[in-house]
Symmetry: D3
Subunit: 245 residues, 6 copies
């Protein structure tokens, strides 16, 4: 919607009320990916879904909850409560104009709790149920079938999966700088023993020495294209179903 004029938006609202709101983050993505990757991915997926379905796309929110990345240069973080307010106020502005079906396309796992809190407050304040989906394929989410292309053991940040998708979407990726995950030196025995069982406010440099997880060195554009296609296809199907509601 951000490249339309007001009269064009008024026209759209006469016949439809779906809008996609991509949200990302600006944070370090290891040694090989641009720091805008989560915002970039959310916006690119939104554009592809919009192209297929004809719905509008709100501007991407480029800053997210990245407090655990602040020990790595280039990361920008908002406070949790501020981020909830931003999501809420953008959605409530859209609702004010008549958009009744908002789909938040989230490109950063760290935003999830803030998005969910916003969803709850929006429903309690306005009665409108807002939808939240991840733009990366996940086990239980959209595009799950395409996860078979992924070979790394585990990942989650600037990894085989994220890097492949970046390559497919035209992100700036320096493949020659990509490195496989390395555990940080100097973890205590307690940290090692209970890292999975006990939750703490862990900083990302306590989890990875190089800023990324998994194995980005085996990423490829082809893998990325398969995943992007799957996510876009299934998300578009959801949007079509939503339009009919």
């Amino acid at each position: 919607m951000y490249k339309l004029t007001r009269p064009e938006i008024e026209e759209y609202l006469k016949k439809d009320d779906v809008v996609l709101f991509p949200v990302g983050s600006t944070e370090q993505h290891g040694k090989h990916m641009a720091i805008d990757n989560d915002a970039f991915t959310a916006l690119e997926i939104a554009r592809r879904v919009a192209e297929k379905t004809g719905v509008l796309v709100a501007p991407v929110m480029p800053f997210g909850y990245s407090v655990h990345h602040m020990n790595f240069a280039g990361s920008i973080t908002l406070k949790f409560s501020t981020l909830v307010e931003v999501y809420k106020q953008v959605c409530e502005s859209l609702i004010h104009h008549g958009f009744k079906k908002i789909v938040i396309l989230n490109g950063h796992g760290g935003n999830t709790n803030a998005v969910n809190e916003a969803l709850r407050e929006i429903r309690d304040d306005t009665g409108v149920v807002v939808y939240n989906v991840m733009v990366f394929p996940t086990e239980n989410g959209f595009g799950s079938g395409s996860l078979k292309v992924i070979k790394q053991e585990s990942g989650g940040h600037a990894c085989e999966l994220e890097t492949s998708i970046g390559l497919a979407l035209g992100q700036r990726v320096l493949m020659d700088k990509a490195e496989k995950w390395r555990s940080p030196r100097g973890l205590t025995d307690l940290q090692k023993k209970y890292q999975r069982k006990v939750t703490t406010a862990r900083n990302f440099d306590e989890v990875t020495e190089i800023g990324s997880l998994g194995d980005p060195t085996i990423a490829s554009e082809e893998k990325g294209e398969e995943m992007v296609e799957a996510v876009v296809k299934e998300l578009s199907e959801f949007v079509e179903d939503l339009k009919k509601e």
Copy 2:
């Protein structure tokens, strides 16, 4: 610690600095369990761990984040931001007196995000890393081995697992009122199709007609005892490791 006098606490702090802080909720637990179950369980597990390890237990926080249960009578909820503040201020009071190793024992999944946000703010404000664990056994958490006793397909609230543990801990359970999960009537096709793939601010009565999930009718005290024993044993081992740090 709540049954000690001030001089007794001063004495403890001279030689040790671990404290358990149980947090729960007051919310409907289907047709057969008392509404204080999450607070009750957190406190009972804390007591058993304290008995084994000699560490102190702070009073249980009985109210949690239960906004999704408010369509069922008896549920009490705090706002997310208020709950974060409560967790923070209790922990920071404990830190003020010299407790350096605080373990939050959480009895309610709905509190998790608020606990995590508190953990982050405490670390940023004071430098102290607080630990957070669930008092129910989970796949990746403490007591995972004992999950083999559970036969229901899925659960999560006043289910076979939670009811069994309630029976083992002496909770008030009305087994003759227990019923197997039933889907709410009147879900839309969209809701049914995307319930797992898309996140919304779902109310609990949109997920279960009777207020519980899973199958509490096959719960038993024996199953509960096995799980309680496993959780208490592994948690106590963690606490012992923590004391040595």
Copy 3:
């Protein structure tokens, strides 16, 4: 109500709408009383009133406004604004389910201003008038007649009155540790001269060297029983009158 199931609470709400909400604190109580005493007392009095009148009791809020006790180990304090929010949100949750007559039973003088602020905001937000009473006998409040058993000149914290009531209610009291109030050493002349006439943000260690006021050494279970009986009787009469409204 916290030991009831949801259907039992629904049943209660069909015929009655009174609920007691005990609120206390966790703070040092001199050398001889457990730090949970204010929460313990509020809950115990609430239970006795509930037994006599058949009304429900919400879980006790164990943390209060104890900022002036923070120089003594074991005290836990919430901020004023957080505490107001907790009281408000618990009451508004109860109102949401149909409880129209809420009686806050307060066991800690330091909470009074926060309770009163909550009462005002609840009335302005919802129109519901919430009631607030002290669980200790006071000159103008419930159980005033029983104050004749008290012999100390003045008191107010872990004193003859509070200790006697603790003994009567089964609290953990170490009578051999009880000591008569001693003024802190090192007060300035200005502090001594104007202590009563001028209000400041006084810390409790500027008022008492041992953490208690008055004379707990002359406390007895008999005195406590007489006071408890008087307070419970008069409070129960108030609750009965409230039911009839």
Copy 4:
């Protein structure tokens, strides 16, 4: 201080660091007193004390916590939290410039809790202990000896005491409109029976039909002068003691 120039204040701060901060309210004062009475009184007493002692006076804060008066026209109220912030920020501005001994002269009982909360937060933030006194004589406060001139049974708002002091200070008082307190019609039996024992968020029109308490018809300038003289004398003594600290 508000009629001084910056260099004059700098000069003062070189040799002294006491400042009086009068706080009042704007609220209905029955049928016969101007609505600015609490602010007016606080300022007038402050001026008289300043004259005797040579200390400075900050501008009077004219708005207070008067939420219970809002059913009577002309009352202006701030929220509790806003008022605490105002008191805090004014005091912290004064502390910033080098005033180390601030005395809040309060002319409105309804402000007391907000003043006290501000005092606590200022002490915790800056270490400075701020002093709070009432400008009206009270049993345990300054000018208590002069209370013997008061003949009404009870009072508290636009009553014999406050009206007499208004007359003595030159306030606009319409003595021919003054009326003795009358209970509001339509109180329920419950309200009448428990008005003193149970606290609620009572509105002032539930306590007095005419907006004032006590008996202003027996007020006189002479009584007022005696009380003003006593309060000013004792307050000035306190200020002199403070200067010497």
Copy 5:
């Protein structure tokens, strides 16, 4: 209105609904003017307009947004958000009693953003449009014609304009201390080159060495009277127009 009784205000509200709310600040005004000047001016202009038009005047808010003056002794500042709340709550109290046409008379440029934010929130909350005017003559505002008496090149604080008006209104002005503006020593080249083109959070001592701008030495009571007369006349005309709306 602050010298009226409640019945007198009720009487006024039966036939009219305009009220003036003067807002000022307490901050250093160079070497020659009292620090209460902005509050004093707002109130004095309000009184003169009220006299001409018969409308009521609320008490003046004496504290404003003066954070940039805090390096000069005697300045008191509120935080932006607190000040917005004060303006809002005072106006909403007035609206509550039936005042529908509120005119804020602002005596301090630094308050403008906070006033405007309050105006917006009041309109969004209550639908009432509140009016905001400066009490000093400005190019596009009231009394612009009278600006011809001003000879200084530029000004803005304790300058020829403000000092002349102070003299005309009876403010305490020490003309023998007045000095022409002097640039602070020690400005960097960057500061000098871009002072007008680039906005920063500039402190007032980075703009003027003596705390005032412009040239107060050429101020005179006659100039002040001409400006006051113009502003009062035009403001009164506006108020008369408002009454007829």
Copy 6:
């Protein structure tokens, strides 16, 4: 900076510490301009300045303070306080990593007060002075000389100036939809008479019927290029001076 990797940013910070932070808005721009215009312009100018000077550019903040545009479809607004927090937290994240010279490039006049409030709080919290400039040429700002190309009498929103710059920067502009400003019908006499002299919380549809001001029909790419060149040149000079500081 948003297209760089973390190691590239670390490299930059070793030798330089300037960063540009463009901030815009998403709001209706009359009948002929895309609603993202303020964000788009801020980012495009930032890119051109960065290209000339070699400094980094943070992601553009696409949402601003547009509350007065909410009666026109497509506008999205944040609350004032939320926006201040976003600006603050982004800047403080940048400062955290070692950027000491932040220049906010603002593309929306409505953001100015929020930016200024953020600047003040950042300076008070961290000591860092952040710079704020408009990306459109203004009388006293950068590019003022180029304003001679503008012929409309007055403007300010989607006008000759803004439209010309849009054309020069490659924005989506529908010149055939552009219309000259028209006053809204139905303004009251009071509104017309005092529109300039009195400030209110005016909605934009009370100022323009078509959503734009001034005369966009006489806009041209050539005019835009002249202004863009002037602004970019002078801003770049400022940035070069800043680097040398």
